[in-house]
Each structure stands twice: as C-alpha cells, then as structure tokens.
C-alpha cells in the first residue's frame, strides 16, 4: 500500500551523477514531528523519492530531510475529485486509491514513483501539457513549514509563497501536505493511436493536428539519422477510453500489460536495429489504433526497477530543453545536427509540443514551445562539452533547460533561462539550500 522505497537508500539522484556526501539524513515519519531546522548548523533540503536526475535533490555537506515516509492520506472526496495527502505519498498510491473511483491524476510525469512534494517542487509536466498545464495548475493548497513558521498556501492565501514553492526546487520550506484536483475518467484504459513520421517536418504537421484531437501526446524520435529523415520517429497519442454501454471492461480484469520493447528502446542501450524494427512495424502515414491499460501508456519505464543501473557506475545525464515554436524550428534542427555530429549519441529522444497554459509556479520549466528530452551516458568532458553546446542553442532561441534533470548547466545559462530567479530567491528559506542552487547561483552571489 505504500510505494516500496529504495530501502538501502543511498540518497543519490536518479542519474547517479553527481554523487555527494551528506552530513546527515533525517527521516520524517509524522507531519506533526518535524525537526526544528533552526537547530541544525548546516542547511537542509527535502528529499522525496530521488527521481530527479541531477543535483536538485542533493545538498552536499548539508542535511536531507527524507519526506518519503510521510504517506498518510488526509481526505479523498470521491464526489468532487479532490485529494489531500501528505507530501511523501507517491503518485502510485494516489492512483491505487482514485482509479477504482473513476478518477485520475490531473498531470503525471513518466514515472509513478514520485512524491506529491517532488511533483510540486519540480512542477512536473506530462503528456497532456497542451491541455492541462503542469501539476502545479491543479494544486489547490498546501502546508509549508519554514524555519520561521508554518504557512497554508493557496492561490489566495500566502499567494506569493504558493507561487514560489510550485517549481521551487524544495528551497522555500517543507511541504507537509497538499491538496489537488483530479480528473474524471470513464475507464482506466487508453484509446491509443500510433503514427510513424518520416522527419521533423512531418512531426510538426502531425503534432498540430493531433493537439486538437488528443489529450495525451508524445513521440519517440531518432536523433542520429540525418538529411531527409532527420527526426523520424513514432507519435503516440491517446485519450481515456469510454467503453460502449454494457461493454465496460473492469479495471481488475484487464491486468496492466507491460511491454518490454519500449523501455529498452528508451534506454538507448539497444541497437538501431531494434528501434527500426518497431519503427517499421508501423507503415508510414498509417494510424495504428489500440486500447491499452494506462500503465504501459504512461509508465513504460516503471516496469524495470532501477533502470539507471544499465548505465553503469559512471551514471548518466539527462537533458531536457524547451524552445519556442517558431518559423521552421531551426534551433530544434540544430540540436539534432549537433547530437548526430558529436557521436555521443542519445539515439532516441522524447519529443513533444508544450501548450500555453501558464503555471502559477515562478520558476517552472514548461513554456509554450517544443520540448526534447535526451539521456547520455556520462563520458566525462566530451559529454559535458556537447551539452554546453546545446545550452548555447537553447539560450539563443530564448528557451530553457529543466533543473530537475540537470547536473551541469552554467550559472550564466541558468540566469538567462530563468531571469525571474532573483525574484524567486527572495522566497528561499535561509535554512534551505541545495547542490543545484549553490552551483547555478555561485558566481552570481559573488558579483
């Protein structure tokens, strides 16, 4: 009933890069028994399930407050679709409770092993960004415990702290509980459509059309093929399936089917051959429709526990960017070209168009445009240099890079991506800090 944690917890981030030492870890079991952070000499940082990739959930030399043990629900209104629960409750547990009652998460990232606190602190997005915005858009209120007191935050109460904490990277205080709105679903099944696209032009054309018809959208795209087939891939779209009367498949009977081909592809560890095999199973231009359980549709990677291990000891880097949709989308093409040239080969990328629903979060990552997520095995300088080059492209295109997946962006680039960072910094609790935050504000403080 609770999400199994990594019980030999190492308090690392999901990419295993970087790894840092902490002074101490404090597990919080009851929301009424929070430690008084003022008695610590070092700074503190909340830590959920460590599903962030880089160093935003780490606090080198400081203290981590492990909030993942706080797993109590407080209330579930099955009529109105409203959940209030502690910050350590995972999305998996929320789904266990709400799906049988005909509700779903308003927004979900690509793994259900994240905490509600983490979902708020990174203001996570999912396949329905163009329809629903970020997770933070659906949060009605939460409790924030800071070194100077406890605050109930909502769009109308302590509204500035509310906005700073959504996407606030855990720096504004500890979220002890949160309340959020759910989405009604007719069944736990997804009516899915897959389309193969030959290149980026086709992707943009299909994307514009599918945006109108589907709630959930994303694509896998191959970033190694060049020329006319640059960016070729598979578009996956879906809506919750409304079964015809009398034919309602019960959620219990239809066991989630977990495909093993998708995750391995996602890991870039399979050969080009394997990708092509899937790619060419679907003829160009043809739409392949199927009804699937929501599990494989949203969470293909969750079927493989601890998949980061496939990258070995050196770990890996994730990189997610967004750039505005403009003209012939030259920046995106340039990103593809750079990656192909580098030979560093993130061979498959996740490609998606974000919509224009604004999040209340001050420092949120999503903005209208196209987003790309890539992962790279960590090969030292070579990898870092490539990512710096991508940063330059993104920066010139007035885009952004996602802090939840970052371990290396420069302070200059961070400040260019998030010019609002100084306004945000005003709301940081002085007892809170993270490795990420010190890194991206380092030289800025010295100026």
């Amino acid at each position: 009933m609770t999400t199994p944690l990594n019980r030999l917890k190492q308090y690392k981030s999901w990419g295993r890069y970087p790894t840092v030492e902490h002074k101490a870890i404090h597990q919080i079991h009851w929301r009424s028994d929070l430690p008084d952070v003022n008695k610590f000499e070092e700074t503190v940082l909340p830590y959920g399930y460590g599903r962030s990739y880089g160093d935003s959930c780490l606090n080198e030399g400081g203290i981590l407050l492990d909030t993942s043990y706080m797993q109590q629900f407080i209330a579930f209104d099955a009529e109105q679709g409203l959940v209030r629960c502690e910050a350590g409750v995972s999305l998996e547990q929320v789904l266990e409770v709400i799906v049988p009652c005909g509700w779903f998460l308003p927004v979900t990232p690509g793994t259900k092993f994240v905490s509600i606190g983490g979902a708020i602190a990174n203001d996570v997005h999912g396949k329905n960004h163009h329809r629903a915005g970020t997770f933070g858009c659906h949060v009605t209120q939460f409790e924030l415990v800071r070194s100077d007191g406890t605050y109930i935050c909502s769009p109308t109460e302590n509204a500035e702290l509310f906005r700073a904490t959504i996407g606030g990277l855990g720096l504004t205080g500890i979220i002890t509980w949160a309340e959020f709105k759910l989405k009604r679903i007719p069944s736990p099944l997804i009516d899915q459509e897959k389309i193969r696209f030959a290149n980026l032009d086709e992707f943009f054309a299909i994307s514009a059309e599918m945006d109108q018809r589907f709630e959930y959208l994303m694509s896998w795209s191959d970033c190694l093929s060049g020329g006319d087939s640059m960016g070729r891939g598979i578009f996956m779209a879906g809506n919750f399936y409304d079964p015809p009367l009398g034919a309602e498949p019960s959620a219990k009977k239809l066991k989630p089917f977990v495909p093993f081909d998708l995750p391995s592809i996602a890991l870039n560890t399979l050969s080009v051959k394997a990708f092509n095999a899937v790619l060419y199973r679907i003829p160009l231009g043809k739409r392949v429709r199927s009804i699937v359980h929501y599990e494989p549709f949203y969470y293909p990677l969750d079927a493989i526990n601890n998949w980061y291990r496939l990258y070995g000891k050196r770990g890996f880097l994730q990189y997610q960017l967004v750039v505005p949709l403009e003209g012939d989308n030259e920046p995106i093409r340039e990103v593809y070209r750079r990656i192909a040239q580098s030979g560093e080969g993130s061979f498959l990328v996740v490609l998606k168009a974000f919509g224009d629903i604004a999040s209340p979060g001050m420092l949120s990552f999503p903005m209208p445009g196209v987003t790309l997520a890539l992962d790279f095995a960590f090969n030292g300088e070579k990898t870092l240099k490539l990512l710096d080059e991508l940063d330059t492209i993104v920066r010139e295109a007035r885009g952004r890079v996602y802090p939840a997946k970052d371990a290396r962006m420069s302070p200059e680039n961070f400040r260019a991506y998030y010019p609002q960072w100084e306004a945000f910094a005003h709301y940081i609790d002085p007892k809170f800090s993270s490795s990420f935050w010190r890194r991206v504000t380092e030289s800025a403080n010295g100026q």
Partner: protein
C-alpha cells in the same frame, strides 16, 4: 465487511496492514497513543476506503483498563471480527542488562500486556466461535541472542502463549495468527544501520494481511525469515554461544 480492532495502531507495520483491509471497506477500532496520531491514521484509512474508523486512546500498560477497551470496541462496532495486536518497543538491551527495573518494564509492555489482552480476547472469541486474533511477535523470540534477549524473551513468551491459545481455540473455529517480522525499516529501527535483510513495512503489512485473511498459524514476514530462522535455530548451542549476534 470486516470489523477490525487494532491495538497499537500507530505502529507502522499495523498501519500498512490496515491499509490493505481499508481498500476492502473494513471498519476499524484503533487503540493506542497518542490520540492525535490515531486521528491521522483514521483519516488515512477512511480516505483509502475504510467504511469507518473510531479512535480510542489508551496506555496499554494500564492492565485494569483492558476490559474496557474491548467492551468499547464491541459497543462501537457491534462485534469484532479480527484483532491485530501490534504495540511494543524494541527497548535498549544494554540498559535492561544494567537495571532490573528497565528489564521488567520491557517484559511488562511486550509480554504481560499481551497476556492480559489475549486472555480477555481469547474468551471473547471463544464465545463468538469465529474470528481471528493476530499478534506481532518477532523472529527475535525464536532464539535468545546477546544483543536483544530481553526483547526476545518477551516475544518468545508471546509466541508460546499464542501457540497454547491456538490449540485451545481451534475447537471454536478461531484463527490465532503469530506474526514474526524480521528486520523492518520503521521508526523502531531508525537507529540501526540498514542492510539487505531489511524489509519495507508495506511488504510486511501485505504478508500480515494475507496471513490474517487465510487464518495462518505462523507468518514469517517476509517469508524468507522462516528459512533464516530455521538455520539459526539449528546451530548447536556450543557454537552459537560464541557467536556475536
């Protein structure tokens, strides 16, 4: 739907077990301390599907109050289908070695309170002629070890008492379930360095839930502890006494 009394309801393992019953719409009578935490657990269980939950604050070392606890549960729910006894402390072995008072205090909470409750509950269930009595004992009761034998003694006593009670109540169709968790990652073990033998409370909770539903006699949680303990029990004493365990 099942009507379940949980004694020591703030125990993490008890909570995890209760969550499984909650999804089936069970009714709960939650006994323990402190009241505000019991309310937190009540809200959690109701949100997860429990039909109803009542809380009852009680210091379980106050044996005189035990009859009242059970009467209140029967009054609140009409009857009791199952009871899970989960309270206890790991105690401090070193302190118990140094002080008779500390040692006896451990025995009082971890053994005598169980005997008191089980005597009353045994009679209740014997008359009802159905139901399930489950108690969280421990693998620590399977063999005395230098590092925690006071706790182990309390658990061994509980296990033996349960064995006898099971024998007596079998005729009445009442299941008596002895649960022996191994090492579990809970606040009770917060100060012990974790290794691969540690289990998640949810895994243990699930094993207890299934054991109670099936009316098993002894549940090792997780299952592999049955084999670990089978080995430990069979180490000859002349070797065992020299081992540091």
């Amino acid at each position: 739907m099942l009507k379940i009394m949980i004694i020591g309801a703030t125990s993490v393992i008890a909570q995890e077990t209760a969550r499984f019953f909650a999804t089936e719409g069970a009714e709960f009578f939650l006994v323990g301390i402190p009241a505000d935490k019991l309310v937190v657990i009540k809200d959690d269980l109701v949100a997860r599907g429990a039909k109803r939950a009542e809380v009852y604050e009680a210091d379980l070392t106050d044996f005189d109050k035990h009859p009242q606890i059970i009467e209140s549960a029967v009054q609140a729910m009409g009857s009791i289908d199952a009871v899970l006894i989960a309270h206890g402390t790991l105690g401090n072995q070193k302190a118990a070695e140094a002080s008779v008072e500390v040692a006896l205090k451990e025995i009082n909470l971890n053994l005598l309170s169980n005997i008191s409750l089980l005597t009353l509950l045994g009679n209740y269930f014997e008359k009802q002629r159905r139901g399930c009595i489950a108690v969280i004992s421990s693998v620590a009761g399977d063999r005395g070890r230098g590092s925690n034998y006071v706790y182990g003694t309390a658990k061994a006593g509980t296990t033996t008492f349960m064995q006898g009670l099971r024998n007596r109540l079998a005729k009445s169709g009442v299941a008596v379930v002895t649960i022996k968790p191994g090492l579990v990652d809970t606040p009770m073990t917060a100060d012990i360095k974790k290794n691969f033998l540690f289990s998640d409370p949810a895994t243990v909770g699930k094993a207890i839930y299934l054991g109670m539903k099936k009316g098993k006699d002894t549940v090792y949680a997780p299952w592999f502890w049955r084999y670990i303990m089978a080995i430990i029990i069979h180490i000859p004493e002349f070797i065992f006494k020299k081992m540091s365990l």
